[in-house]
Each structure stands twice: as C-alpha cells, then as structure tokens.
C-alpha cells in the first residue's frame, strides 16, 4: 500500500502549547477520577503544567523565527513574549483563585477542576493568538479564549449578578466577533489571502501608488480594529466591562482584566502592524483617538465608583487607553521603534499589578468582608502585609517610580514622544494624575480609617504567596526593566518584513 505523503509539522515549535493541552487533559481526567476532597491536587498539576510550559520556551530557537502548519503558527520573539506574559499571568491567577473557588465564597461552592480547565483553555487560546500567522488562527485563538472566559464569568451560577455579567459579555462578545469576522472576510476579499505576511506583501505595492486606499480595504481595516477594540475594552466598545468584572467571581475578574486583554492586543499587533502595517497612515489616527477617549473615560468614571471591583474595571479601561498609546506610536519597522515593545512591556507589568489588586480583594472576601471601599477601612491594622501589598499595587497602577507601573507608563510615553505624539503623552500624564484620586483613596482608607465589620481569621497560604510574589515582582521588575524591554524590542525582528 502506498504511504500517503503529508507535510510534517514541526512539533518542536509548539511544545509550550502541547504541554498546556496535556495539562488540560490531565485536569479533566482528574475531575472524573478524583473525589471532591482530592481536587486540590489539581492545583499543583495546573501550576506545574503552566510552569513547565513556561520553561519549555527555552527549548525553542526563537532567533530563527520559524513558522509551521503552513505558516499558520509562528514561533518568533513576539509569540515568546506573549507566552511569558500569559504563562506568568496564568500561574498568578491560579494562585489567587484556589482559596476562593475551593473555599466556598460563592453559594454552594464552585467546581475547581472545571474552573482550572477553562482557565487553561483560555490561556492556550491566547498563546495561539500570540503565535498566529493567519487571520483564521487569530479568530480561533480569540474565540477559544473568549468562550472559556464567558463561562468563567458566569461560573458562580447561583448568583444572579454573575450570570447577568456573563450573559452581557457573551451577547456583546458574539456581536463583536461578528464584526471581527466580517472584517476578516473583507480583508480576504480585498487581498485574496488570510496569511498575515502575505497580506502585507500584497498591500505594499498598492500603497506606493498614487491616491488613497480602496474603500473595501478601509472597511476591512476599520471592522477589524473595532472587533478587536471590543476585546480590549476600548471606548466606545467597553460597555460590557464593568458589569462583567463586577459580576464575575473576583479572581476571574483579575484574570479577565489581563489575559483576554493580552489576546486582544496580541491580535491587534499581529493584524494592524504585521499584516496591515503598510496601511498604518489610515489606522494610526483611529488608534490615537481611541486611546485618548478610552483613558479619559475609564479614569474619570472610575472616580465615581464605591465598589472596588467596579473601580478596578474602569481603571482597566483607563489602562487599555495607555496601552493603545504605545500602539499609536507605530512608525514603521525600524529597529528602534518602541511601539509594540512598549505595549508588550505594559502587558507584562499590568499582569502583576492588576491580578495583584484583585488578589487583595479576594483576600478580603475570604475573610468575610465585601468588595466596597468601606471594607478596606483599617486594613493596615488588621493585616499590615496585605495593606502593604495593596499599597504597592495601587501606587504601581498609578505609576509611581520606581514601581513596575511607572516604567510601563514611562516606555509608552517615550514611544509616543519619539514619534511626536506629544499631546497623547501629555494626556497619559494628566490621566495618571486623575487616577491618583481613586487609587490613593484605597490607600487612605486602609491606613487612616478604623476597621469596620467582622474579620474572620482564615489561612490562605497560596493566595498569600501569590500576593507576595506579585508585590515583590512589582518592585523588582521595575528596577530590572531593561532586559525585559530588550526582549520586547525584538518584536521588530519577529515582524521583520521591513
């Protein structure tokens, strides 16, 4: 019998993804085999799987920037950085989730193995987006991540607010996906391909000619930007965010404020820069205006919130605005273009400080308190270490040197200034000042007010360790920002088509 000749994919390039997939299978199998009491074993399985997946990045030769599966999958420095960010965010999310989900903060408790599996699926999806070499892969990765997060948002199924948030998120998400896929269809129609590099290659001759771009291309571009704008919660496509963040179980809020955002920004970088880079004149203004609107809206409305989860929801909209500034600073593929690298570095920083902030809220909840500003009163006397951690996160989100958040903002501003977007850089600084109002308010009530409500002593070692790691990371990575930035700067090599 003749052997059918198939193109053998390079399995070596997708080892991190494969390890994660294996972990998911083990977790799901464990759900069937283990009794409820033994479920906590799976925490370690998931953490080990994530750590292993993160470590396996070392086995790949990123310098080569090879692709496989017919160019669907690219193993380059950009995907490496995304792998690092989501891997770290995944580990931190599992650490802050276990006590909440297993500890029964929600009515009737939540099934931990399913939670873990969904979380890992969403991480896997985001890694695929980071490594996507084709519009279809981007779509698949985003949907894989989003569907898991929709389910996670409504995971506390006995609580109406959780279901409400999930339903809104899902309906609007489906709507946005439709816009995104419509944009992809138009792109295919206008260029005849869905491969990112190929799109760029076909666009380049079009641009060099006289006159503007075709209307069909413009429409494709706008629809793609809008569809992805929903995923990162840019104004005016942000409306789902506060409801979803408030309704979701707290650790999920922390997780979904980071990883789906990473997916969205990774897709934006892949689509707008790698594929549609030649059209940058057409999308840069849009991104800059979205950035301004997003940061102003998010930061201003956050002031009015008393619910800390909701406040962090709006604040995350504000941060989306800052990150968009980095993207808006794209100026072509030169070696010192800091646009995408500042975005990547910001995402990395954001994972630490925002998951950390939600982690402290989780910490309070597991000690019988609520999630409003009043529940933070006098935290400094009840639990000084938690108060210190929260202070670090708040100051970092605010952008105080020498914390990680400062460097993240600094590099974004630097990128903007380099291309002459002074007004946008000024806006970032002004909005940071505005944001001080609601971040410092949390710090103030923790230290200057007397505690209210009952405090029940509780041991949550994994959550505590996670918070400590994030607080230390927020301090240390700030001082060590330059090697990370050097790594992020290699996006130029990854996208290197110039």
């Amino acid at each position: 019998m003749p052997v059918v000749e198939l193109v053998r994919p390079e399995w070596g390039l997708i080892v991190p993804e494969l390890i994660l997939l294996g972990t998911i299978v083990v977790v799901l199998a464990g759900d069937l085999i283990l009794s409820r009491r033994q479920h906590s074993v799976l925490t370690w399985v998931a953490l080990a799987g994530l750590a292993l997946s993160l470590l396996s990045n070392l086995t790949i030769d990123w310098d080569a920037g090879r692709s496989t599966f017919n160019g669907m999958f690219q193993a380059d420095y950009f995907s490496l950085f995304i792998n690092i960010v989501v891997g770290v965010a995944g580990i931190l999310s599992v650490m802050i989730s276990s006590s909440y989900v297993e500890g029964g903060e929600e009515p009737e408790g939540l099934p931990w193995p399913e939670y873990l599996a969904l979380l890992l699926f969403s991480i896997l999806g985001t890694m695929l987006v980071g490594a996507a070499g084709d519009l279809l892969m981007i779509f698949l990765g985003i949907e894989m991540g989003s569907l898991a997060v929709y389910a996670l948002t409504g995971f506390a199924r006995r609580r109406a607010t959780s279901l409400e948030g999930a339903l809104k998120y899902f309906l609007l998400g489906a709507f946005a996906t439709a816009i995104l896929i419509y944009g992809m269809a138009w792109t295919y129609g206008a260029t005849g391909t869905t491969a990112l590099d190929e799109i760029a290659a076909r666009l380049r001759p079009v641009i060099t000619g006289e006159g503007g771009i075709e209307a069909s291309l413009l429409l494709a571009l706008l629809l793609l930007a809008i569809g992805l704008g929903f995923k990162i919660a840019a104004v005016p496509f942000h409306m789902w965010t506060p409801d979803a963040y408030q309704g979701a179980p707290t650790p999920v809020s922390g997780y979904m404020s980071v990883v789906p955002k990473v997916a969205g920004f990774a897709a934006m970088a892949r689509v707008l820069v790698q594929a549609l880079g030649p059209l940058s004149d057409s999308w840069l203004t849009l991104i800059a205006i979205l950035a301004l609107a997003t940061m102003v809206y998010g930061n201003v409305v956050a002031i009015a919130q008393r619910d800390v989860k909701r406040m962090l929801g709006y604040s995350s909209i504000g941060h989306t605005g800052y990150i968009l500034v980095g993207l808006a600073a794209y100026s072509g593929m030169s070696a010192d273009d800091r646009s995408v690298s500042s975005v990547l570095f910001y995402l990395f920083s954001y994972a630490f400080m925002n998951i950390g902030a939600f982690g402290v809220v989780t910490w309070l909840q597991s000690r019988g308190l609520g999630v409003t500003l009043d529940d933070f009163r006098g935290l400094a006397t009840r639990s000084p270490l938690a108060a210190i951690a929260m202070t670090v996160f708040m100051l970092s989100l605010m952008g105080l040197p020498p914390l990680l958040g400062f460097y993240a903002k600094y590099y974004v501003i630097l990128a903007a200034v380099q291309v002459g977007l002074i007004w946008l850089a000024v806006a970032v600084v002004v909005m940071s000042a505005v944001s001080a109002f609601f971040y410092l308010r949390v710090v103030a009530v923790m230290y200057f007010n007397e505690p209210v409500g009952d405090w029940k002593t509780q041991r949550t070692p994994l959550l505590g360790t996670g918070l400590a790691l994030m607080a230390i990371g927020t301090l240390v990575f700030g001082l060590l920002s330059s090697p990370l930035l050097d790594l992020a700067q290699k996006w130029v090599q990854a996208f290197g088509v110039a």
Binding site: L167, K168, L171, L172, F175, A176, I179, G212, A215, L218, L219, L222, L223, I226, F230, P236, F237, M239, W240, P242, D243, S282, L286, Y297, V300, V301, A302, I303, A304, L385, L414, V434, F437, L479, L480, S482, P483, L485
Partner: protein, 632 residues
C-alpha cells in the same frame, strides 16, 4: 570582571529586608543573628576583594545592569573596587560588624530590637553601595539612602521628642548639602555628558577653570553637610540622641566618612581647581579648630566625642584641601578604629552608669569597669595623637602635608587644634575614670559591661594601637603604596618630604600632645590648675566655645524662625485657600462629570449593543467622509 562583587552589598540588604518584613512577628529578639551574619559575610567578601585588588594591583568591577536606558542618558548599575574602595569596604564592614555585635548587648530588651537590626544592616548596605558605585548618579542615590538611614536610626526612639527633633535636624541640614551636591552632579552631566567616574575624570581637563571650580565647590557642599564641616556641622552633636552604637557607626564608618570619601574619589576634579582646594583647606582647618574648642567645654561624654569627630573630620578635609589625599584616607581609616572604640566605650560607660551621660556625675569608674577604662584610654591616646598610637601617624602626616603643600598657616592651626584635642580627650578620661566618685552610690551601681560589648572594644583597641603602622614609615608606608594607583595621573604631583621635616614635625606633635596631657593632668588630677577660674578669666571666649560659637542660635533666629513663619503663611494662605481651593474645585468638577457619565451605563444589553453599533457606524462614517471621495 568579578561576578561575586554584588554579594557584598546584597548580604546586608537581604538581612535588612528579611528582618524588616518578618522581624515583628516571627524573628523578634533573634533578629541580630541574620544581621550579624549578613554583615559578617560582607566583611569576609570585602577582605577577599581587598586581597584581590592588593594582589593584582588593578581595580575589579562588575556590571549588574543598565538602570536607566534613555537615549544618551545611560546609567549603569556597576560596582567597582579600586584601592580606595577596597580600603573603605574593609573599614565599613569591619567597624560595622563590631558595632552589630556590640549592639546585641546594648539593645538587649528594646521593644524595637528587630527594627534596629533591620535599619543597621540597611545603613551598612547603603554605605557599601555608595563606595562601590562607579558613577555619580548611583553615588548620589546611596548618598541619600545613607541620609535616610541616619534619619531612621537617630530617631530610633521616635517617641522621645528630642530624638525625633535631632533626626529631623540631621535630615534637613544634610538636605542643604545634598542640594549642592545634586547641582554639582547635574553640572557634570551637562558639561561632560557622562556621569561615570572614568569618563568624568578624563573630561575634566578640557573644561574651563571656572566650571571646574564651580563643580568642585558644589560637590564639596555635599561633603560639608555629610561630613559635618563648618557651617553645617550642627546636626552631628545632636545626632547623639540615637542609640550609642548608631553614633559609633555614624561617626566611625558609615556616614560622615562619605563626604571625605566622595572628595577623595573626585580628587581629579578638585586637583584641577586650586581655588576650590583652598576653600576646602580653609573650611577643614576652621572646622578642626572650632570643634576642638567646643570639645573642651562640654560635659556630656558623648557630646565631647562628637565634637572630637567634627574636629577630626576637619583634619581630613584640610588634608584633602592641601592635596594630601592618601593622608586623608589614612586618617579616615585610623579614625574609624579609635572613634568607633571611643563611642562604644562611652556607650559601655553609659550602660554601666544606668544611662548617665554627664561627666560631672561620674568619676573613679576605673576600678568598676577596667576593660572599658583601658580600651577607652587607648582610644583617647590614639585620638590625642600620642606616639605610637594610630592617630599620631595619620594626624602628623596631615600636618606635614599642609606644611610642604605650601599652607604653613593651616599647618599651624592644625597644631593648635592638636593641643586642644589632647587636652579635651584626657579631660574626658580623667573626669570619667579618675578622681573622686561624684555619683550617688545608693542609686547607681557601676558595673562592667557583658562580654558581647567588651570584646568589640578589645578588637577595636588592637586596631587603634596597630592601624597606624600600615603607614610607617611616614609618606612611604605600605598604605601609601597601596593607594598610589588611585591618586596618580590626571596631573598629580608628589611632594617630596625630607626625613628631617618628618622628624621635626613628629617631635613637635609629640610635645604638643604631651602638653595637652600634662595640662589635663594638672587641671583634673593634681588640681594645680582650676578649670573654673580659667573659664571665668577667659570670660566671653569660654562662653563662645561653651555655646558652640552660637551656630545653633544664629540658625534659629536667621533661618529657622523666619522660615517657620513663611511656612505658616504658605500653609494658611497659599495652600489652604489657593491650592486646596483649586484642587477641590477640579475634583468636584471631575466627580460631577463622572456621576453624569455613569448614567450612560444603564445595564441594558440592548443599549450596550447600540453603543457598539453606533460607534462602528460613526467611525466608518467619519473615515468615509474624510478619507474617501464618496461625499465630495
């Protein structure tokens, strides 16, 4: 390259951080173990670094990472150990280690025990980074960190009002100097485009004379603050409010030496400006003299030693000013031993006397605390410059340096100050340990301190006896040869000192020191001179010294008081009415807007979807209108 250099500062830092985070709940009264271990590790590594530098004769360095990469403004965090740094490392960690061990006994039972043992290694860490830095910005950062640590430690007993005041005073006075130092660093960067030592020293030659002088004077302003020179020395005596081991650390190893070190480190800049050198020399000599006169008149045992430190720092400064670089560092090193010894000895006395510090209530303690007495006597002899103790060699060399450096007047001022030094040192010894017992024997039972306190005294006294011999023969000792590579090049000129000069000044110094001793003996043991009558006869001069030359009073009336009233005005009028009014107004406006916008969030999915759809339509529409010919 030496990839282990980072461990030197890391060890005390780790101890400080761990004690600070976990000390209160878990470590508590075991905090000293980690701290001592950390500083001991730093000491061993420092000795290793010293040995390597001494063996190879070349500086070793380690680049850690680039701290601020912003275009041309590249600030590396790199550690460098050359001969100068090697000496400082050993002094800082060695004296630091002994102070740590001593503190175990001294601070025993204090409720802030863990806090003390997290600040103390942090202090050592900051000082280590200060001497290890290879550029001015890093130096400046840890210059400030040292200031912060001194603030924390001087105000350690912060519930005591005077301690809090002293800490504040130390911090504010230092800020004045730091401001000048900061300006100097900026001026260097503006003119030379780099802050790394090697680049700066090479570039200095190309700068105009005026600029170099300005840079040197601004840098020296920082040293005036940190190393307690006239007119900013007022903080140092007040810093006695901290626990005594802290005083020892500040005076001997970690803080006041920073200014001297910095000027020595920047010697290429100073050497290029004769005017700046003259200013340094004059201020140094004036400080040495003024502080010595004040030291004669004080009764608080720690205050006398504190003014003695100010005076000795004056010697170091004028040594720098006359270009006797190696002699300044030599004196810094010997001073670290005997001043650490004197403070720890004074602490032992205070400990044994149940917190009595006034020498008028002491006397005859020799028989109660023999170890403290003998070690203190050695320290005093070293400070007074009696042959052959450590202080003699280094001080003599400074005075000779001034003489052959063409500044005879300064050398003579130095000699006069030396007479006072010997006098006030032995005054302390005689008043404290000899004569009749002037304390109430029913309430105070003097006792010798525990071994954990006396052993550091013994070790330091060995240093106070022997440290001088590394500089023997004068001007040509092992110490000078070791430091030679640092202070050569960049147009350095060596003065030839004849043996005759050396011997002559050695003899003069010895006679002067013994004269001081004799005067003190006559006044406080034999009673043939009555100090009270002499003080009365000197009248206003005595008052001038006793009132510390009225520096504090002048600052109080001329600066502090007007500043205070200005501050109150700024607070009541500018801050509360103008600034707060504006800020509150803006906040109210933003808050109002926020409340309005909040209503947009209706919670209805249909509305949200409408927003997305409208947003899409508007964006696409605007693009089509502006960017296409559809509507034109």
């Amino acid at each position: 390259m030496a990839n282990w250099l980072f461990l030197i500062p890391l060890a005390p830092l780790a101890a400080a951080v761990i004690n600070f985070l976990f000390g209160r709940w878990y470590i508590r009264d075991r905090a000293h173990w980690l701290a001592i271990l950390g500083v001991a590790a730093a000491f061993v590594l420092s000795v290793a670094a010293f040995a390597q530098v001494a063996g190879d004769g070349e500086a070793i360095s380690q680049h850690l990472y680039t701290w601020i990469p912003a275009g041309d403004f590249q600030i590396p965090v790199a550690l460098t150990v050359d001969q100068l740094t090697a000496v400082m490392l050993v002094v800082v960690t060695g004296v630091g280690l002994l102070v740590h061990i001593y503190s175990v006994g001294y601070m025993h039972g204090d409720p802030g025990f863990y806090r003390f043992f997290s600040y103390l290694p942090l202090f050592v860490f900051s000082m280590l980074m200060l001497v290890l830095a290879n550029n001015y910005l890093l130096l400046f950062v840890f210059w400030e960190a040292v200031g912060l640590c001194s603030f924390l430690l001087i105000g350690f007993w912060y519930r005591r009002r005077s301690a809090a005041q002293a800490a504040k005073k130390a911090f504010v006075v230092n800020r004045v100097g730091d401001f000048g130092f900061g300006l100097g660093v900026m001026l260097i960067f503006v003119n030379l485009g780099t802050l790394e030592y090697t680049g700066v020293f090479e570039g200095v030659a190309s700068l105009p004379q005026g600029t170099v002088t300005l840079i040197a004077l601004l840098l020296f302003t920082g040293a005036i603050g940190k190393s307690a020179q006239i007119p900013l020395f007022v903080w140092l005596p007040d810093a006695m409010e901290g626990p005594t081991p802290v005083s020892a650390l500040i005076h001997a190893a970690t803080m006041v030496t920073a200014g001297i070190f910095m000027v020595a480190r920047s010697w290429a800049i100073f050497a290029a400006s004769p005017d700046a050198m003259l200013v340094v020399a004059i201020i140094g000599a004036a400080t040495a003299f003024v502080a010595a006169t004040i030291g004669l008149t004080q009764y608080d045992i720690k205050k006398v030693i504190a003014y003695s430190t100010v005076s000795q720092l004056g010697y170091m400064a004028f040594a720098l000013g006359v270009g006797a670089w190696a002699a300044a560092i030599f004196h810094l090193m010997t001073h670290a031993f005997f001043k650490g010894l004197l403070f720890l000895g004074a602490g032992s006395v205070i400990h044994g006397m149940h917190d009595e510090q006034d020498m008028r209530h002491m006397g005859g303690l020799k028989k109660y605390m023999p170890v403290t007495y003998w070690t203190f006597l050695i320290g005093a002899a070293a400070n007074a410059g009696i042959v052959p103790f450590a202080g003699f060699w280094s001080k003599d060399e400074i005075i000779v340096g001034a003489w052959v450096g063409g500044r005879p007047i300064i050398a003579i001022v130095g000699l006069i100050a030396a007479l006072f030094t010997s006098l006030y040192m032995f005054r302390v010894v005689f008043l404290t340990f000899h004569g009749e017992e002037r304390f109430d024997r029913h309430h105070v039972k003097p006792h010798e301190s525990p071994a954990v306190m006396t052993i550091p005294l013994l070790i330091l006294s060995a240093g106070a006896v022997l440290a001088g011999f590394v500089g023997f023969p004068p001007e040509n000792g092992a110490f000078h040869h070791f430091l030679e590579p640092v202070f050569s090049g960049h147009g350095a000129e060596a003065h030839h000192v004849s043996t005759a000069t050396t011997l002559t000044f050695g003899a003069i110094s010895t006679v002067i020191a013994l004269a001081g001793l004799g005067l003190a003996y006559a006044a406080y043991i034999r009673g043939s001179l009555n100090p009270a009558t002499i003080a009365a006869r000197l009248g206003p001069l005595y008052q001038l010294a006793y009132r510390r030359w009225y520096f504090d009073e002048i600052y109080e009336t001329v600066i502090v008081h007007p500043l205070y009233r200005l501050s109150v005005w700024l607070w009541r009028v500018v801050d509360v009415q103008i600034i707060d009014g504006t800020v509150n107004g803006v906040a109210a406006l933003v808050s109002f807007t926020a409340q309005r916008w909040r209503r947009v969030q209706t919670g209805l999915v249909a509305n949200y979807a409408l927003a997305i759809a409208l947003g899409t339509v508007i964006i696409v529409g605007v693009y089509l209108i502006v960017g296409s010919n559809l509507f034109q």
